[in-house]
């Protein structure tokens, strides 16, 4: 089990072998407010690092979800589509968005660790 990494677009990513699980951070959900809609990429599709890979909408506005690494979408969390409020309740664990078969593990090196992300999130919301 590897450490969790974070992107500047407020996604988290956890790598298990070559399977990456991706979701949005607690900080992101706090900025968005109540999430009422979630759209995921298609299973089997290929997504590129920093490209859009879904949408979340709160009562206020819509935001794109980006993928912090490239890969093939191998699994989707349908439960957050059926009940988007789960994303607010448990964003960094059970409310993951999708899983990728990662193409290039070195892309993980460009991402932030927890301490770096916490500092980034604090500064970007100040």
């Amino acid at each position: 089990m590897s450490e969790v990494k974070f992107s500047k677009e407020h996604e988290w990513i956890k790598l298990d072998g070559d399977i990456a699980t991706i979701g949005i951070t607690k900080h992101a959900t706090e900025m968005l407010g109540d999430i009422v809609f979630a759209e995921l990429p298609e299973k089997g599709s290929n997504v590129e690092k920093d490209g859009t890979a879904g949408v979340v909408e709160s009562t206020k506005a819509a935001s794109d979800v980006y993928t912090p690494v490239s890969g093939e979408v191998v699994d989707l969390n349908q439960s957050i589509v059926d009940d988007p409020s789960k994303i607010n309740q448990d964003p960094e664990s059970s409310a993951w968005f999708f899983k990728l078969k990662i193409k290039d593990k070195s892309e993980m090196d460009t991402l932030m660790n927890k301490a770096e992300y916490d500092k980034f999130a604090k500064e970007s919301s100040a």
Partner: protein, 367 residues
């Protein structure tokens, strides 16, 4: 220009509000519980809304004021009883809506509640239309607090006795701690409730008393989802200078008596539109599934012809699904007409529906 603060600003801060600039004011968009909880609390219990940014325009005069205002508003003001209110509009010569408003007959004149973003220009327009004949005060010394939801009558009556006797769209003066307070039974959430006009220095203390009795502060975010579920128009979205009250499907607010006689600003266009129909009209729209169609979303018919645009769209917490309003070409405005909404490049099915989306069941809710 610096943004203005209402008298409840400190209370909003103490209540952990997230602020947004709205019409030149720092206003709470939501508090710590979030829009969905605030919305549901209002529907089931009692929500407090700081609407002090809205204009409270007092105009003083006698019979000639009534005559002059009837030349401006499409209302039967001669028969409006003391302390009774009507919903109306300030219109241009071609019946475009400058603002929507609530006008109440008070002793010695009228009180008009105006939208925050329009109040300064409304004041100027009205002053000009009335030829500066009457004393007009756009009162910045008074706050306006709305309390909305099924428990509001119990809560407000425990603070101001007698408010329970007010009927919908009527008001009266009350005295509390030696302050004169004007209370109307009205609101903009689709719930029973009141709007309370009181002096700024008493607003904070008064609101804290409502909170002590169990009401909660609700932000502009939930105010928007509540009014949209109730099918109510928001100025700058459903209503603007390029829309007439007939196009906005608000002809119920135009006095039938006055239509026959005309002679108010915009009456020629209104009469023409009532007789001949309009090309575009406001409708309710229910998207299928969970897709949310925001303002400016394009609307298509079944043969892919563009027929209109969304003016407001969100997720309705009480409906538990997306809701929207918009303007479509008249021939596609019938209930149950299938339409398509273009969201992020894809067309999603939706249906024209009646308003409101949410109707009060009057069953007492339990949180």
């Amino acid at each position: 220009m610096d943004t203005k603060k209402t008298s409840l600003y400190q209370l909003h801060q103490d209540s952990k509000a997230k602020f947004v600039e709205f019409a030149g004011y720092q206003m709470p968009i939501q508090y710590s519980e979030g829009i969905v909880e605030e919305h549901k609390f209002t529907r089931n219990h009692s929500g407090i809304f700081d609407v002090s940014h809205m204009g409270q325009l007092f105009i003083y005069g006698q019979e000639d004021l009534v005559d002059d205002l009837e030349r401006i508003f499409p209302l039967d003001l001669k028969n409006l009883k003391l302390n009774h209110s009507k919903y109306s509009f300030l219109m241009s010569d071609n019946a475009g809506i400058y603002d929507d408003l609530i006008i109440t007959k008070i002793k010695d004149g009228f009180l008009i509640i105006l939208n925050a973003a329009c109040k300064e220009s409304d004041y100027k327009i009205l002053k000009r239309l009335l030829n500066d004949k009457y004393k007009m005060i756009l009162d910045e010394e008074r706050s306006l607090i709305a309390i909305q939801g099924p428990k509001s009558v119990e809560i407000l009556k425990s603070v101001i006795q007698g408010v329970e006797n007010l009927n919908f769209m009527s008001g009266n003066w009350f005295t509390l701690d030696d302050y004169n307070i004007y209370v109307t039974r009205s609101g903009y959430t689709g719930e029973d409730g009141f709007e309370v006009s009181l002096t700024n220095e008493f607003a904070d203390k008064f609101t804290r008393r409502l909170i002590d009795k169990g009401a909660k502060l609700i932000g502009l975010g939930a105010r928007d989802t509540l009014r949209l579920e109730a099918g109510l128009c928001l100025y700058g979205h459903e209503l603007s200078k390029d829309k007439t009250p007939v196009e906005a499907n608000l002809k119920w607010a135009i006095s039938k008596e006055r239509i026959l006689k005309g002679n108010f600003i915009g009456s020629d266009i209104i009469t023409k539109q009532l007789n001949n129909g309009v090309s575009k009209i406001r409708v309710g729209i229910k998207p299928e599934g969970r897709i949310i169609a925001r303002e400016k979303t394009k609307i298509y018919n079944e043969t892919d012809l563009e027929i209109g645009e969304i003016t407001s769209g969100t997720f309705g917490p009480s409906v538990n699904g997306p809701v929207a309003m918009g303007y479509v070409e008249n021939e596609f405005s019938k209930k149950n007409t299938k339409i398509f909404l273009e969201v992020r490049g894809k067309k999603h099915p939706a249906t024209i529906c009646g308003l409101p989306f949410y109707k009060k069941s009057y069953v007492k809710g339990v949180i």
